[in-house]
Protein backbone atom coordinates (compact mmCIF):
# COMPACT_ATOMS: atom_id res chain seq x y z
CA UNK A 1 0.00 0.00 0.00
CA UNK A 2 2.77 2.36 0.89
CA UNK A 3 4.56 1.40 -2.31
CA UNK A 4 1.52 2.26 -4.40
CA UNK A 5 1.23 5.57 -2.64
CA UNK A 6 4.87 6.29 -3.36
CA UNK A 7 4.57 5.40 -7.02
CA UNK A 8 1.52 7.61 -7.43
CA UNK A 9 3.46 10.36 -5.75
CA UNK A 10 6.28 9.76 -8.20
CA UNK A 11 3.95 9.99 -11.18
CA UNK A 12 2.51 13.25 -9.92
CA UNK A 13 5.97 14.64 -9.31
CA UNK A 14 7.12 13.70 -12.79
CA UNK A 15 4.08 15.39 -14.27
CA UNK A 16 4.90 18.52 -12.33
CA UNK A 17 8.53 18.47 -13.44
CA UNK A 18 7.60 17.91 -17.08
CA UNK A 19 5.23 20.85 -17.02
CA UNK A 20 7.96 22.94 -15.43
CA UNK A 21 10.44 21.98 -18.13
CA UNK A 22 7.98 22.84 -20.89
CA UNK A 23 7.26 26.25 -19.40
CA UNK A 24 10.98 26.94 -18.95
CA UNK A 25 11.60 25.89 -22.54
CA UNK A 26 8.91 28.25 -23.75
CA UNK A 27 10.21 31.14 -21.67
CA UNK A 28 13.78 30.70 -22.87
CA UNK A 29 12.60 30.63 -26.48
CA UNK A 30 11.15 34.08 -26.01
CA UNK A 31 14.53 35.58 -25.18
CA UNK A 32 16.07 37.46 -28.11
CA UNK A 33 18.52 35.48 -30.22
CA UNK A 34 22.18 36.46 -30.12
CA UNK A 35 22.96 37.78 -33.61
CA UNK A 36 25.83 35.86 -35.10
CA UNK A 37 25.52 32.78 -32.93
CA UNK A 38 22.40 31.01 -34.11
CA UNK A 39 20.90 28.31 -32.00
CA UNK A 40 22.17 29.44 -28.62
CA UNK A 41 19.84 28.59 -25.77
CA UNK A 42 19.92 29.07 -22.03
CA UNK A 43 19.09 25.44 -21.29
CA UNK A 44 16.89 26.07 -18.28
CA UNK A 45 15.38 22.59 -18.51
CA UNK A 46 18.75 21.15 -17.61
CA UNK A 47 18.23 22.51 -14.14
CA UNK A 48 15.17 20.31 -13.71
CA UNK A 49 17.10 17.33 -15.07
CA UNK A 50 19.90 17.97 -12.55
CA UNK A 51 17.28 17.93 -9.83
CA UNK A 52 15.97 14.63 -11.13
CA UNK A 53 19.44 13.10 -11.30
CA UNK A 54 20.37 14.11 -7.79
CA UNK A 55 17.12 13.79 -5.86
CA UNK A 56 15.27 11.15 -7.87
CA UNK A 57 16.88 8.36 -9.82
CA UNK A 58 18.49 8.26 -13.25
CA UNK A 59 15.85 6.26 -15.17
CA UNK A 60 13.30 8.84 -14.08
CA UNK A 61 15.58 11.58 -15.33
CA UNK A 62 15.90 9.90 -18.72
CA UNK A 63 12.14 9.53 -18.91
CA UNK A 64 11.70 13.20 -18.10
CA UNK A 65 14.13 14.15 -20.84
CA UNK A 66 12.33 12.00 -23.39
CA UNK A 67 8.98 13.48 -22.39
CA UNK A 68 10.28 16.98 -22.65
CA UNK A 69 11.80 16.46 -26.08
CA UNK A 70 8.67 14.90 -27.54
CA UNK A 71 6.21 17.29 -25.95
CA UNK A 72 8.11 20.49 -26.63
CA UNK A 73 8.75 19.31 -30.17
CA UNK A 74 5.08 18.72 -30.74
CA UNK A 75 4.02 21.93 -29.07
CA UNK A 76 6.68 24.44 -30.03
CA UNK A 77 9.49 23.76 -32.40
CA UNK A 78 8.19 21.22 -34.87
CA UNK A 79 8.90 17.59 -35.56
CA UNK A 80 11.89 18.15 -37.81
CA UNK A 81 13.65 20.18 -35.15
CA UNK A 82 13.04 17.42 -32.63
CA UNK A 83 15.95 15.32 -33.79
CA UNK A 84 18.46 18.04 -32.95
CA UNK A 85 16.98 18.43 -29.49
CA UNK A 86 16.94 14.64 -29.12
CA UNK A 87 20.61 14.33 -30.01
CA UNK A 88 21.56 17.14 -27.68
CA UNK A 89 19.38 15.97 -24.84
CA UNK A 90 20.56 12.38 -25.07
CA UNK A 91 24.22 13.28 -25.11
CA UNK A 92 23.80 15.71 -22.24
CA UNK A 93 21.85 13.22 -20.13
CA UNK A 94 24.44 10.50 -20.67
CA UNK A 95 27.22 12.87 -19.69
CA UNK A 96 25.39 14.20 -16.66
CA UNK A 97 24.32 10.79 -15.36
CA UNK A 98 27.81 9.36 -15.74
CA UNK A 99 29.50 12.36 -14.17
CA UNK A 100 27.06 12.54 -11.29
CA UNK A 101 28.18 9.07 -10.22
CA UNK A 102 31.80 10.17 -9.95
CA UNK A 103 32.56 10.98 -6.35
CA UNK A 104 33.92 14.41 -5.68
CA UNK A 105 32.37 16.14 -8.66
CA UNK A 106 30.37 19.18 -7.74
CA UNK A 107 26.84 19.60 -9.07
CA UNK A 108 27.88 22.77 -10.89
CA UNK A 109 30.53 20.90 -12.86
CA UNK A 110 28.04 18.21 -13.84
CA UNK A 111 25.68 20.91 -15.04
CA UNK A 112 28.44 22.61 -17.00
CA UNK A 113 29.33 19.36 -18.70
CA UNK A 114 25.65 18.72 -19.41
CA UNK A 115 25.15 22.13 -20.96
CA UNK A 116 28.26 21.79 -23.12
CA UNK A 117 27.26 18.31 -24.27
CA UNK A 118 23.75 19.47 -25.08
CA UNK A 119 25.05 22.09 -27.49
CA UNK A 120 27.62 19.66 -28.84
CA UNK A 121 24.94 17.10 -29.56
CA UNK A 122 22.87 19.62 -31.47
CA UNK A 123 25.77 20.81 -33.61
CA UNK A 124 26.92 17.25 -34.29
CA UNK A 125 23.43 16.40 -35.47
CA UNK A 126 23.45 19.47 -37.72
CA UNK A 127 26.81 18.42 -39.11
CA UNK A 128 25.40 14.98 -39.79
CA UNK A 129 22.33 16.32 -41.54
CA UNK A 130 24.17 18.86 -43.65
CA UNK A 131 27.08 16.49 -44.29
CA UNK A 132 29.59 19.24 -43.71
CA UNK A 133 32.62 19.09 -41.44
CA UNK A 134 32.93 22.84 -41.58
CA UNK A 135 30.73 23.36 -38.55
CA UNK A 136 33.50 22.13 -36.30
CA UNK A 137 34.54 25.71 -35.63
CA UNK A 138 31.01 26.47 -34.50
CA UNK A 139 31.06 23.36 -32.31
CA UNK A 140 34.07 24.72 -30.46
CA UNK A 141 32.33 28.02 -29.74
CA UNK A 142 29.16 26.32 -28.60
CA UNK A 143 31.07 24.05 -26.23
CA UNK A 144 32.37 27.10 -24.41
CA UNK A 145 28.97 28.80 -24.47
CA UNK A 146 27.44 25.60 -23.10
CA UNK A 147 29.94 25.63 -20.26
CA UNK A 148 28.89 29.15 -19.34
CA UNK A 149 25.16 28.49 -19.45
CA UNK A 150 25.70 25.24 -17.56
CA UNK A 151 27.52 27.19 -14.89
CA UNK A 152 24.58 29.55 -14.42
CA UNK A 153 22.04 26.74 -14.36
CA UNK A 154 24.21 24.72 -12.04
CA UNK A 155 24.52 27.53 -9.53
CA UNK A 156 20.77 28.03 -9.47
CA UNK A 157 20.08 24.30 -9.22
CA UNK A 158 22.67 23.98 -6.46
CA UNK A 159 20.90 26.48 -4.26
CA UNK A 160 17.48 25.00 -4.97
CA UNK A 161 18.54 21.41 -4.36
CA UNK A 162 20.33 22.26 -1.17
CA UNK A 163 17.19 23.82 0.22
CA UNK A 164 14.99 20.99 -1.01
CA UNK A 165 17.27 18.38 0.56
CA UNK A 166 17.10 20.02 3.93
CA UNK A 167 13.33 20.40 3.81
CA UNK A 168 10.96 17.76 5.08
CA UNK A 169 9.67 16.73 1.65
CA UNK A 170 10.48 13.15 0.74
CA UNK A 171 11.05 12.49 -2.92
CA UNK A 172 11.73 8.82 -2.60
Amino acid sequence: MAKQKRSVQRIALCGLLTALMLVLGYVESMLPAVPGIPGIKLGLSNGVLIFAIYLLDIPTAFALMALKIVLSGLMFSGVSAMMYAAAGGLLSMIAMSLLSRVRGLHMVTVSMAGGAMHNAGQVLMAMLVLQTPKLVYYLAILLVVGLVTGLLIGLAANIAIRHLKSSKIRFN
Binding site: G39, A81, G104, L130, K134, L143
Partner: protein, 184 residues
Amino acid sequence: MSRKPFDNKNIWVIGVILALAALLLFIGVRGIRTTVPPLPELFTPTPEPVATAALAAETSVPAVETTAEPQATVEPAAGYILLTVQNSSSYWLPLPAEGEFTFPIVQPAADGSDKQLENYLHITPTGMYMESANCDSQDCVHQGEVTLENKDTRILYNMIICLPNQVVVELYTPDEIMAMMSAQ
Protein backbone atom coordinates in the same frame (compact mmCIF):
# COMPACT_ATOMS: atom_id res chain seq x y z
CA MET B 1 30.07 21.07 4.53
CA SER B 2 32.69 18.48 5.28
CA ARG B 3 34.38 18.23 1.91
CA LYS B 4 36.34 20.91 0.10
CA PRO B 5 34.17 23.24 -1.91
CA PHE B 6 35.99 22.68 -5.20
CA ASP B 7 37.86 19.46 -5.79
CA ASN B 8 40.56 18.89 -8.36
CA LYS B 9 38.35 16.57 -10.36
CA ASN B 10 36.04 19.44 -11.19
CA ILE B 11 38.86 21.37 -12.75
CA TRP B 12 39.78 18.25 -14.70
CA VAL B 13 36.34 17.90 -16.21
CA ILE B 14 36.05 21.55 -17.13
CA GLY B 15 39.61 21.54 -18.40
CA VAL B 16 38.93 18.55 -20.66
CA ILE B 17 35.94 20.25 -22.22
CA LEU B 18 37.86 23.48 -22.74
CA ALA B 19 40.77 21.59 -24.24
CA LEU B 20 38.39 19.79 -26.56
CA ALA B 21 36.92 23.12 -27.62
CA ALA B 22 40.37 24.55 -28.26
CA LEU B 23 41.32 21.49 -30.29
CA LEU B 24 38.19 21.74 -32.38
CA LEU B 25 38.82 25.43 -32.90
CA PHE B 26 42.28 24.65 -34.14
CA ILE B 27 41.04 21.91 -36.43
CA GLY B 28 38.30 24.14 -37.70
CA VAL B 29 40.51 27.07 -38.53
CA ARG B 30 43.13 24.94 -40.24
CA GLY B 31 41.12 22.08 -41.64
CA ILE B 32 38.29 24.10 -43.10
CA ARG B 33 40.39 25.18 -46.00
CA THR B 34 41.12 21.69 -47.22
CA THR B 35 37.61 20.39 -47.71
CA VAL B 36 36.90 20.21 -51.40
CA PRO B 37 33.50 21.00 -52.82
CA PRO B 38 32.70 19.97 -56.40
CA LEU B 39 34.49 21.89 -59.12
CA PRO B 40 32.95 25.16 -60.18
CA GLU B 41 30.52 24.95 -63.04
CA LEU B 42 29.01 27.92 -64.71
CA PHE B 43 25.60 28.64 -63.39
CA THR B 44 22.76 28.58 -65.89
CA PRO B 45 19.70 30.26 -64.47
CA THR B 46 16.51 28.19 -64.48
CA PRO B 47 13.45 30.00 -65.81
CA GLU B 48 12.06 31.87 -62.84
CA PRO B 49 10.08 35.02 -63.45
CA VAL B 50 11.09 36.80 -60.28
CA ALA B 51 14.78 36.12 -60.65
CA THR B 52 15.15 37.01 -64.29
CA ALA B 53 13.07 40.14 -63.90
CA ALA B 54 15.25 41.20 -61.00
CA LEU B 55 18.42 40.30 -62.82
CA ALA B 56 17.45 42.12 -65.97
CA ALA B 57 16.23 45.22 -64.22
CA GLU B 58 18.83 45.86 -61.61
CA THR B 59 22.22 44.46 -62.33
CA SER B 60 25.01 44.29 -64.77
CA VAL B 61 25.81 40.67 -64.13
CA PRO B 62 28.58 39.56 -66.48
CA ALA B 63 27.45 37.92 -69.70
CA VAL B 64 28.98 34.64 -68.58
CA GLU B 65 25.80 33.84 -66.69
CA THR B 66 23.40 33.86 -69.60
CA THR B 67 25.31 31.88 -72.18
CA ALA B 68 25.03 28.15 -72.17
CA GLU B 69 28.52 27.28 -73.33
CA PRO B 70 31.44 27.44 -70.92
CA GLN B 71 33.91 30.22 -71.54
CA ALA B 72 37.15 30.96 -69.83
CA THR B 73 36.69 34.10 -67.82
CA VAL B 74 39.58 36.43 -68.24
CA GLU B 75 39.26 37.94 -64.84
CA PRO B 76 37.71 36.07 -61.95
CA ALA B 77 34.92 37.60 -59.91
CA ALA B 78 35.69 39.07 -56.52
CA GLY B 79 34.20 36.04 -54.86
CA TYR B 80 32.13 33.00 -55.52
CA ILE B 81 29.14 31.74 -53.62
CA LEU B 82 28.70 28.02 -53.25
CA LEU B 83 25.07 27.17 -52.77
CA THR B 84 24.31 23.68 -51.54
CA VAL B 85 20.72 22.53 -51.29
CA GLN B 86 19.74 19.34 -49.42
CA ASN B 87 23.39 18.35 -49.64
CA SER B 88 22.83 16.97 -53.04
CA SER B 89 22.94 19.85 -55.49
CA SER B 90 25.56 22.54 -55.48
CA TYR B 91 25.81 25.63 -57.60
CA TRP B 92 28.46 28.25 -57.90
CA LEU B 93 27.43 31.85 -58.30
CA PRO B 94 29.96 34.57 -58.99
CA LEU B 95 29.58 37.85 -57.19
CA PRO B 96 28.38 40.57 -59.53
CA ALA B 97 30.78 43.32 -60.44
CA GLU B 98 28.21 45.96 -59.61
CA GLY B 99 24.62 46.07 -58.54
CA GLU B 100 22.86 43.81 -56.12
CA PHE B 101 19.96 41.45 -56.39
CA THR B 102 17.99 38.91 -54.46
CA PHE B 103 18.36 35.32 -55.45
CA PRO B 104 15.39 33.08 -54.64
CA ILE B 105 15.94 29.50 -53.58
CA VAL B 106 12.64 27.72 -53.75
CA GLN B 107 12.28 24.02 -53.17
CA PRO B 108 9.26 21.77 -52.94
CA ALA B 109 8.57 20.59 -49.43
CA ALA B 110 9.94 17.18 -48.54
CA ASP B 111 6.61 15.76 -47.45
CA GLY B 112 4.89 16.57 -50.71
CA SER B 113 2.65 19.25 -49.30
CA ASP B 114 1.94 22.42 -51.19
CA LYS B 115 4.04 24.68 -49.04
CA GLN B 116 7.41 25.36 -50.60
CA LEU B 117 10.64 25.99 -48.76
CA GLU B 118 11.76 29.47 -49.70
CA ASN B 119 14.98 31.29 -48.98
CA TYR B 120 15.84 34.62 -50.47
CA LEU B 121 19.53 35.37 -50.66
CA HIS B 122 20.59 38.94 -51.23
CA ILE B 123 23.81 39.15 -53.19
CA THR B 124 25.91 42.31 -53.42
CA PRO B 125 29.28 42.88 -55.06
CA THR B 126 30.98 42.35 -51.71
CA GLY B 127 28.97 39.72 -49.97
CA MET B 128 25.62 38.21 -49.26
CA TYR B 129 22.99 37.83 -46.59
CA MET B 130 19.75 35.95 -46.22
CA GLU B 131 17.01 38.46 -46.81
CA SER B 132 14.08 36.33 -45.82
CA ALA B 133 13.07 32.73 -45.49
CA ASN B 134 9.97 30.86 -44.58
CA CYS B 135 11.55 28.52 -42.06
CA ASP B 136 10.23 28.48 -38.52
CA SER B 137 13.32 29.45 -36.63
CA GLN B 138 14.54 32.32 -38.85
CA ASP B 139 18.09 31.72 -37.67
CA CYS B 140 19.41 32.17 -41.19
CA VAL B 141 17.98 35.66 -41.44
CA HIS B 142 19.62 36.65 -38.18
CA GLN B 143 23.01 35.35 -39.17
CA GLY B 144 23.99 38.66 -40.65
CA GLU B 145 26.02 39.36 -43.69
CA VAL B 146 29.00 37.46 -45.02
CA THR B 147 31.33 39.79 -46.84
CA LEU B 148 34.79 39.26 -48.18
CA GLU B 149 36.14 41.26 -45.26
CA ASN B 150 34.29 39.77 -42.34
CA LYS B 151 34.17 36.16 -43.36
CA ASP B 152 37.26 35.17 -41.47
CA THR B 153 36.08 36.66 -38.23
CA ARG B 154 32.51 35.44 -38.18
CA ILE B 155 31.44 32.68 -35.88
CA LEU B 156 30.02 30.62 -38.68
CA TYR B 157 33.01 31.46 -40.85
CA ASN B 158 31.93 31.98 -44.44
CA MET B 159 28.58 30.22 -44.23
CA ILE B 160 24.94 31.07 -43.86
CA ILE B 161 22.94 28.03 -42.96
CA CYS B 162 19.22 27.46 -43.02
CA LEU B 163 18.90 24.21 -41.14
CA PRO B 164 15.19 23.49 -41.58
CA ASN B 165 15.35 24.11 -45.32
CA GLN B 166 18.78 22.48 -45.63
CA VAL B 167 20.31 25.37 -47.51
CA VAL B 168 23.98 26.18 -47.06
CA VAL B 169 25.56 29.15 -48.82
CA GLU B 170 29.28 29.81 -48.53
CA LEU B 171 31.40 32.64 -49.82
CA TYR B 172 34.80 31.78 -51.21
CA THR B 173 37.53 33.97 -52.62
CA PRO B 174 39.19 32.88 -55.87
CA ASP B 175 42.40 32.13 -53.96
CA GLU B 176 40.61 29.68 -51.70
CA ILE B 177 39.06 27.96 -54.68
CA MET B 178 42.44 27.66 -56.38
CA ALA B 179 43.86 26.20 -53.19
CA MET B 180 41.03 23.71 -52.95
CA MET B 181 41.32 22.66 -56.56
CA SER B 182 45.04 22.16 -56.37
CA ALA B 183 44.66 20.15 -53.19
CA GLN B 184 42.22 17.79 -54.88
